[in-house]
Point group: C2
Chain length 380, copies 2
């Protein structure tokens, strides 16, 4: 069985490693160069894209921002899972919002901005506290602006004036005073059946995921159900196959969808050590029409992203249940260089492990780790 | 970090997959051809052995039967772990027995045979029920003969007459009426500290490991300690670094060493899904001087070898906690083609999973799976 993944970063690499034991060979397309790479060694393979598509049993993506020409070619092969439509929905906030509204899935109120002047109307409708997001290609905090009050409006308009909003409109979203962010990683099979990992709680810093804890504490059965229902509606509507991630804001006992990711997701990395079958294996199982593996958590887990640093202190591996996933990339500011999964049999143990880990990580890159322990592990 | 493994089979492959997340690149030497291979794809790399040794930080082995000339070259580099002495001890039953006796570690009484006539003396000393084993290159039931009574002696002598016993002597061992076979997978660090996985119980069939269950049931604290002490004595004497496996016969509350394997071991494959850190990762952590990961079992697990069949029924992945490790080798009789790890939160659940699995596996290749469930999971 062979699967070709569009995108040759860490997600393709982790799918490669998860597929190998099942006899699934994963190859990756570097979407910038069009080269086919071994996802682990990054060595180019002597194959054109057309040949790789021909030889593959299935095609999939590691991220939604794949050039449309490439997606078209993939879709034409009849092997692309999830479908181009699902991928494009995750790649475009306007499509995404439209779909959520159509399916009656709660999300934060918004206004589409194709001219900066429309910001006045947005403020009138949604209030003066807004988050402005690029409708496409915006991720990890890039292409986002905040309006805290009307006084900043002129400055904001100025900042946005150079953008071509006809080509890539913006979405102005009402800033919701949410209690926390949680995410659902779901798996949909070819037969339409769905499996769900328990909700994870996520802490962001400067627009990037910083820490996830799973299963999230203080999750009522109803809350988990709400998330599962949203994922099910989306999955059914998109005739989705594979892993689908949905990020939510929690407001009281209500979940508002923040974002949909038509792929394996950073907030699901904890499943590598904390669940029976990890999201990477389950994505491959689903698209290859193999039975989806058990999605229940076997332990409580915390995932900590390693961002922007070129190395790690090996001694942190002394912490019981500490597992490193190092991507072997060149260090750049804000770049995800790896992640650490911490596992424990109780949240108290997990909290101690997180505190122990914070001693090994430079405070500049991990400003929130210590404080997040208290926040994330506060019991009801 | 780069590690070169002598041997390019499934053990090297699983070390490759376990090392990748830590940023450890594993390459393999095919010891027959001398080629350097990517352990996962089996693609040859454009490197000579000398270059691969030069570029590697450490060298290790996936099996003990590496040609001595290659081992010498490896040892000379100063990067080989465990040492050549440790590897050769595992490769030669006479060295092994001599070491066990020297360290006062219980093992079954034996007699070295360099001429077939010495069998008479062996019978006199040890009784007429003997297992005759080649002292070198014998594994998976090859190079083994059984003597049940004196009547078979002439026939046995005849069968052995073509062997060069001066070159490769035999060991005649007293057949011990043991209750079961258990094995210890231990990890020794560069600083001499040791970690131990819980004992696994092993079922063999025609000389090959068939099923392991871990943690083995009915293991008293004293029994686990006995096994740990034997591994510690061996580890200290050999100044061992890495994973060391020791197979035992259990007779009452006494353990007799059956075999030492200076490497990751088939009876430790359950650790991939059943322990916090698997044996493959811990072998690499130990030789790369990284802290050894937690060796405790997180669940109860059964490992079932897939032997001699060219494919598998994908539906078995429906069984909760069922994980496939498929080696992508050409099928041959008695060849290990892959293994399945079953995991559960209780032995009862595990037994049900094993019974469910037996429905998917051809009875000819898995004659003992059903019966082994009862045998292995019988409570005290």
């Amino acid at each position: 069985m062979r699967v070709l993944i569009y995108g040759a970063g860490q997600l393709a690499k982790m799918m490669y490693l998860a597929g190998a034991p099942l006899g699934i060979q994963v190859q990756a397309v570097d979407v910038a160069s069009g080269k086919i790479l071994d996802p682990e060694t990054k060595q180019p393979m002597q194959l054109s894209i057309a040949e790789a598509i021909e030889e593959a049993d299935y095609l999939s993506v590691e991220f939604e921002h794949v050039p449309e020409a490439l997606l078209h070619e993939a879709e034409l092969s009849g092997k692309l899972l999830p479908s181009m439509r699902a991928i494009l929905t995750g790649a475009d906030r306007i499509r995404e919002k439209t779909l959520l509204d159509k399916l009656d899935i709660a999300n934060s109120p918004y206004h589409v901005i194709t001219k900066v002047e429309q910001l006045d109307q947005a403020i009138e409708e949604l209030g003066e506290q807004l988050i402005i997001k690029s409708s496409r290609d915006g991720y990890d905090g890039y292409g986002q602006w905040r309006l805290q009050s009307k006084e900043q409006l002129a400055e904001l308009k100025d900042a946005l004036s150079s953008l071509n909003l006809q080509k890539v409109p913006l979405i102005a979203e009402k800033m919701i005073p949410f209690e926390r962010e949680v995410s659902m990683v779901a798996v949909r099979s070819r037969d339409g059946s769905m499996s769900f990992y328990p909700l994870a709680e996520n802490l962001h810093y400067r627009g990037q995921l910083h820490v996830s804890v799973a299963p999230a504490l203080k999750v009522s059965e109803e809350l988990q159900k709400q998330a599962e229902q949203a994922a099910t509606k989306l999955g059914d509507e998109l005739d989705y196959v594979g892993v689908l991630a949905v990020e939510f804001f929690q407001v009281g006992e209500q979940l508002l969808v923040n974002e949909i990711a038509p792929r394996v997701h950073n907030s699901g990395h904890w499943t590598q050590q904390g669940a029976d079958t990890c999201q990477f294996e389950n994505h491959l199982r689903a698209i290859c029409d193999l039975p989806v593996g058990d999605t229940s958590a076997t332990r409580c887990a915390a995932m900590v992203n390693i961002i922007g640093v070129s190395g790690f202190n090996r001694d942190m591996l002394r912490i019981p249940g500490c597992h490193l996933h190092w991507y072997r990339k060149e260090a750049r500011e804000k770049r995800k260089m790896g992640h650490i999964n911490l596992c424990a049999s109780s949240y108290e143990e997990l909290g101690n492990a997180m505190l122990a880990l914070s001693e090994y990580l430079p405070i500049a890159q991990f400003p929130k780790l210590k404080s997040s322990v208290q926040q994330l592990l506060k019991k009801q």
